[in-house]
């Protein structure tokens, strides 16, 4: 084969194109460390940094590439599946290390997100990915962010070593139901994926136990694990997707579940639906995910508004919930508890915190909310404030209408 004759630039194009369908690009949530005393290169300071944005609105924080896009699996939704005629390439370990360091030195990136098609065996693939991370950390003193995608049935010792170098590890669950995986990713075994996540959770918890000898905890995957689900490739409803997420959060303490609206890929499999899910659906799923994790909502509360288990594309899920539960409103912002305030459409966690802190010192009016950056148009109907009561606004039949979005120009396709 003449694979190795392709230039580095050409292969970079192929192997980043192959990696772009993975939505995760986070570089946050890890430990603080830097190179000022240790020498070397790089730092992580808690908050992630997005170094660029592509015209698809996605942030570019990490060098997100595949080690190779050769793959022995044949997952229908994936650009790299074995039955696709996409151009193939591979990097050497040294090349990935070089690219990461040189990109980092120019401040293009926060670090590396390395994934790979599965070549030969799972262990062989995982071993090469671990080598990249080891080289970066030990040979080059690299203190930037490293995210490795793990291969479900790789040997435990490889996962353990990966966890010593990586800030985050992830395995993609891909589809919300076992039957969906069986249909579209016949080589993947959902049980194995869950077991890998369970193993990783136990390893992370074990590393966090202070040992008898020292109070210092072992550094092991400090930014935790995450996963991705593809939305719209199978027929799963939003409720099914969100229930799957809640099981992943509860069972394996995932930091994030990423939702990726299925996107047309070059040389697509004919088994896939021809209709592309609206990008808005992905956005609504993220909003619902947030309501579940930070606003005290139950998945069933969020998804029960419609019989088909789909979220309303035209309004955010909190507003949809509030309109379906008008008996709970209006809420007095000067008296109600935090949990109740969090359910008011248009108020985020930060605003609620500011309200709780501010109302200890003075009674809050609509103007106060406005100065906190709240859209009065959105909250007015749902709240009572000093000098303001919505009267019958909450009962008016055309309240839904008030929140309808103006029709927008259709997106591509």
């Amino acid at each position: 084969m003449n694979i190795m004759k392709k230039s580095l630039k050409h292969r970079l194009a192929i192997l980043s194109d192959a990696a772009k369908y993975d939505a995760s690009c986070a570089s946050s949530g890890t430990v603080k460390r830097d190179s000022s005393r240790s020498g070397g290169l790089g730092s992580t300071e808690g908050a992630g940094i997005c170094h660029a944005y592509a015209p698809d609105g996605r942030c570019i924080s990490l060098l997100k590439i595949l080690l190779t896009n050769f793959c022995i699996f044949d997952c229908a939704y994936c650009i790299n599946r074995s039955s696709s005629n996409v151009e193939r390439a591979r990097f050497t370990v040294e090349e990935v290390v070089w690219l990461t360091l040189e990109f980092y030195r120019r401040n293009y990136i926060e670090g590396l997100f390395l994934s790979s098609g599965i070549i030969r065996s799972s262990d062989n693939t995982m071993e090469q990915m671990v080598r990249v991370a080891r080289e970066l950390r030990t040979t080059h003193g690299f203190r930037g962010y490293i995210h490795l995608k793990t291969i479900p049935d790789a040997s435990p010792h490889l996962i353990e070593e990966a966890g010593l170098y990586a800030d985050r590890l992830s395995i993609n669950i891909e589809l919300p139901t076992d039957s969906g995986i069986a249909r579209f990713a016949p080589d993947k075994r959902p049980g194995e994926i869950r077991k890998s996540m369970a193993d990783l959770r136990l390893k992370i918890e074990a590393a966090n136990e202070p040992t008898l000898q020292t109070k210092r905890r072992k550094r092991f995957v400090p930014a935790g694990q995450s996963t991705q689900m593809i939305v719209g490739a199978d027929g799963a409803s939003d409720a099914t997707i969100l229930r799957a997420s809640s099981r992943l959060y509860g069972g394996y303490q995932l930091r994030r579940v990423y939702y990726s609206a299925f996107s047309p890929i070059p040389d697509a499999s004919k088994n896939l639906p021809l209709i592309r899910p609206p990008l808005e659906r992905e956005h609504r799923l993220y909003q619902a995910d947030w309501l579940y994790r930070f606003y005290g909502f139950d998945i069933e509360e969020i998804t029960s508004a419609r019989p088909d288990g789909m979220l309303d594309l035209d309004m955010d899920p909190k507003l949809a919930w509030a309109l379906a539960h008008r008996e709970r409103f209006p809420v007095d912002i000067n008296r109600s508890a935090r949990e109740i305030l969090l359910r008011i459409p248009g108020l985020g966690t930060k605003t609620v915190k500011a309200i709780l802190s501010g109302r200890r010192h003075r009674r809050l009016r609509l103007e106060d909310l406005q100065r906190l950056g709240v859209s009065l148009k959105k909250v007015k109907a749902f709240i009572v404030a000093d000098g303001w009561s919505p009267h019958r606004l909450i009962d008016s039949a055309d309240l839904n209408h008030m929140f309808q979005r103006k029709p927008e120009q259709l997106a591509l396709l």
Partner: protein
């Protein structure tokens, strides 16, 4: 009216000294006109501060830690209004210490907005500075880089330590119209003097542009989202931004082409792989002896007899010697058991282990399993709440328990809790009616029923718990005796 002219290039100390002096003399915020050196030339005709007021006055001036932190940030803002706003807030805080807690106060809201904008500017500087390597003819110990950036505010001194912590092993200069910073491995030097834009170029920028173009997904154009986070004003100093118009312009066409392309035949290696995979799967596994306990366990791992398998991590099969004389049957695996794939390893497992040790039973000599082999739960935030298995699930899983009993052939089966009892006897009787009494099971063996260890964990009353643990131990002593017999 007093006029104070500050240099105003992000120096907190000059403002603090002036503010302290004014406030110590009790000067009202409305009586001070603040301006910076750049704006001062427009204000001819206003009075210069009185030299006799150089010393502090008699009023004590205090400031909270939060205020100092806020002021240090806000002073970097380029708005001429920042000095007066901070002074007004400091003045109000002399009688109202908690003012900053009221984020919706007009002054506080205004100052927080300035703070946010300085933080954002600093964050964007950390994100959008682009270093270009300076290549020298002769070899040097350290590599050298330069960057040009145009911040909105006076943030050079604020952000410099970040770059030092990050780019320790290289020399660099970041030049801006509002000052510059320099690191040579020993000293971090900053200056407030405006710098000139460098004309350096770097060939690696070309690789970066390749990456930028390839990671972009033309099927999901979201220009507004991009511009919100990477406003156009930054584009001129970002090497990748020159590609944006072209990427956007071609997006529609490239997606159309992608869709119109006919599905292709799989490449040759796909077929070879499919064959190889089929071979690998059939020949890969060591198949356990048919009809053995191991064989049963691996069969159970693929169990789909009831829907519980979809949500659980794995089948938690029984474990212990294949010829154990005693078999313990619990209800179902819990959170920890589900993760580890082994029965009785969570909190209830600890209670169970302690009890066994107390009565002198070695867990390695007994067989431990559950009536239901998959964890049933409902997710609640970050936790999973255990749910009792229903009759259908117990019935479906009985298939496995029966075969475990048939293979292990224990003399005594211990039912831990009502679910196990129901599964073993088929009766929904009350546990208390039969607890602690040896009963016949299937004619050939005995059955003993006692509580499930998790019951002991749920008792809120310590005294009661103590008593119940004693009773549990007493039941297990019967087991120890039977085992020894």
């Amino acid at each position: 009216m007093r006029s104070v002219i500050l240099e105003g290039r992000g120096d907190f100390i000059e403002w603090r000294d002036a503010a302290r002096r004014l406030l110590s003399h009790g000067i009202e915020p409305n009586d001070v006109m603040w301006s910076d050196a750049a704006g001062a030339s427009d204000m001819l005709g206003l009075s210069i501060p009185d030299a006799s007021e150089a010393a502090n006055g008699s009023h004590a001036v205090t400031a909270t830690e939060r205020f100092i932190d806020l002021a240090e940030t806000v002073i970097c803002h380029s708005s001429p209004a920042r000095f007066g706003l901070l002074y007004r807030i400091l003045s109000r805080m002399q009688s109202d210490k908690s003012l900053l807690n009221v984020a919706s106060d007009e002054d506080v809201a205004a100052v927080l907005k300035l703070e946010k904008s300085v933080r954002r500017d600093s964050h964007k500087m950390k994100a959008f500075v682009r270093f270009k390597e300076v290549v020298h003819q002769e070899a040097r110990a350290r590599r050298q880089f330069v960057a040009w950036f145009e911040p909105d505010h006076f943030i050079v001194e604020r952000v410099a330590p970040f770059f030092q912590r990050r780019f320790t092993d290289m020399d660099w200069i970041i030049a801006t119209p509002r000052g510059s910073m320099m690191w040579d491995g020993q000293n971090l030097v900053t200056s407030r003097e405006p710098a000139e834009k460098s004309t350096a170029s770097d060939t690696t920028d070309d690789l970066w542009r390749t990456y930028y173009a390839s990671i972009f997904n033309p099927a999901r154009l979201k220009l507004k989202a991009m511009r919100a986070e990477m406003p156009k004003k930054y584009w001129k100093n970002l090497p990748e931004a020159v590609l944006i118009p072209e990427l956007v312009g071609n997006a529609e066409r490239s997606v159309m082409e992608m869709r119109q392309r006919q599905p292709t035949m799989p490449p040759l290696f796909h077929d070879r792989l499919q064959e190889a995979t089929t071979l690998r799967i059939s020949g890969d596994h060591e198949t356990p002896v048919p009809g053995s306990l191991e064989d049963l366990g691996s069969e159970a791992r693929r169990c789909t007899r009831c829907p519980l398998h979809c949500n659980a991590t794995q089948t938690v099969f029984g474990e212990g010697p294949a010829d154990a004389r005693v078999m313990f049957v619990g209800e179902q695996p819990g959170d920890q058991e589900d993760l580890a794939g082994r029965p009785f390893v969570g909190p209830a497992g600890k209670v169970f282990d302690n009890a066994l040790a107390e009565v002198g039973i070695d867990r390695r000599n007994v067989y431990v399993t559950n009536a239901v082999k998959h964890f049933k739960y409902v997710p609640r935030g970050k936790r999973r709440i255990h749910q009792k298995p229903n009759a259908g699930e117990i019935e479906a899983c009985k298939w496995w328990l029966r075969q475990e009993i048939d293979l292990v052939k224990p003399q005594l089966v211990v039912a831990l809790g009502a679910t196990a009892l129901a599964s073993l006897t088929g009766r929904q009787g009350r546990l208390t009616d039969v607890r602690g009494v040896l009963m016949p099971l299937d004619g050939t063996r005995s059955l003993l029923a006692t509580v499930h260890p998790s019951y002991l964990l749920r008792l809120p009353d310590l005294e009661r718990q103590h008593l119940e643990i004693k009773r549990f131990h007493a039941d297990l002593r019967l087991v120890a005796e039977a085992q020894g017999a």
